[in-house]
Symmetry: C2
Amino acid sequence: MNTRNRILEAADELFYRDGIRSVSVDTIAKKAGVTKRTLYYNFRSKDDLIAAYLEARSDPTLSRYRRWFQEFDGTVAERIAGMFGKLAVWAKSPRWKGCGFARAAAELAGAPGHPAIAVASRHKKCFEQLFVELLRSEGVSKAGFVAQQLMVLLDGAITEILIHHDYSYAQVAGDAAMTLIEAHLKRSQALPGRRDLPRPGVHTEH
Amino acid sequence: MNTRNRILEAADELFYRDGIRSVSVDTIAKKAGVTKRTLYYNFRSKDDLIAAYLEARSDPTLSRYRRWFQEFDGTVAERIAGMFGKLAVWAKSPRWKGCGFARAAAELAGAPGHPAIAVASRHKKCFEQLFVELLRSEGVSKAGFVAQQLMVLLDGAITEILIHHDYSYAQVAGDAAMTLIEAHLKRSQALPGRRDLPRPGVHTEH
DNA sequence: GTCTATACACAGATAGAC
DNA sequence: GTCTATCTGTGTATAGAC
């Protein structure tokens, strides 16, 4: 494995475990088995390394959740609820420390223009798009709207688990996901002609 | 105002704005108009000050949400949806930087025994208990369960808004809250007294 | 590209006077 | 209780050799 990836691997382990501001570049360089000068040859700055750390984390995270979804049979509601059940198990690992993207955004809230925040935002939007596709494949109306709700449930559950170390929040969130998806299935069946109407008031501001 | 409170006020402003690890005790002391030595006379350590900062933040936060709830009429579902609508407005302030408790827990995920995490957990449990009481007062079944779901929605919405700067997540979370509460309403109690009011707060001016 | 060595600022925390 | 002055470790980042 090349030097840059060794550094990234060390950064991933330490940034995720201890938080991005708690970890020094010295520590990362030491763990990667290189000197600080080599680290700064491969990355312009620590901020640059932080953004690269999140960037490298995005695809594996999405793949994991996609795999969890595929491990279940049934309706899309049941399979997404299953995803939340998998999260509950996953979170019990002693290495689990919440969502690296949300935690980075929380730490960097005082640095609005930080490149890592843009990476985190992009990752979450990709995740939301995954939900959109899953929902559309079963004809859920207003898939974009419901996908936003699922993202809220997912990140909310992760936050509560991180604060309380109470894994039941994943289950109640999964239950909520199921209720919400089924509610929109009923609505689309009850009002078949209105499924494509835009919703005023929930329009995004990007 | 006494010295301790002046320090706490400065800490609140800086910790919330920039994050607890980004702010030095020097900066806080300077803002409070005292020397570092005085700060260390009033607080044993920076960790101690962080815990005190969150402790002082808890009651005002709960009061604010309680006040938002009371500003609305209608069913408990509608009033809680109204709370989420208020959050959307509140979050648009340039000083808003998400939930101080969740952000502190995110920053301190690498320091499991930190006293501030216990404070954050206690605060969130108080908040959840507030939801329990509101739900029970209108005969929602499984109030504890639904209150957990509402906490997930609240902290999830805050997380998404912080990451994307997209305030619509408060609205979709409020909508989800309403759907979930109504799904758990005891129909024997809910149907006779149920009014068909418009939903305040979820269609605010955007 | 990777090394040794170091610049320079700032972190948390303390000593001791008054 | 609040001050001035300071200790000690560590932070990000860079210079220049090979």
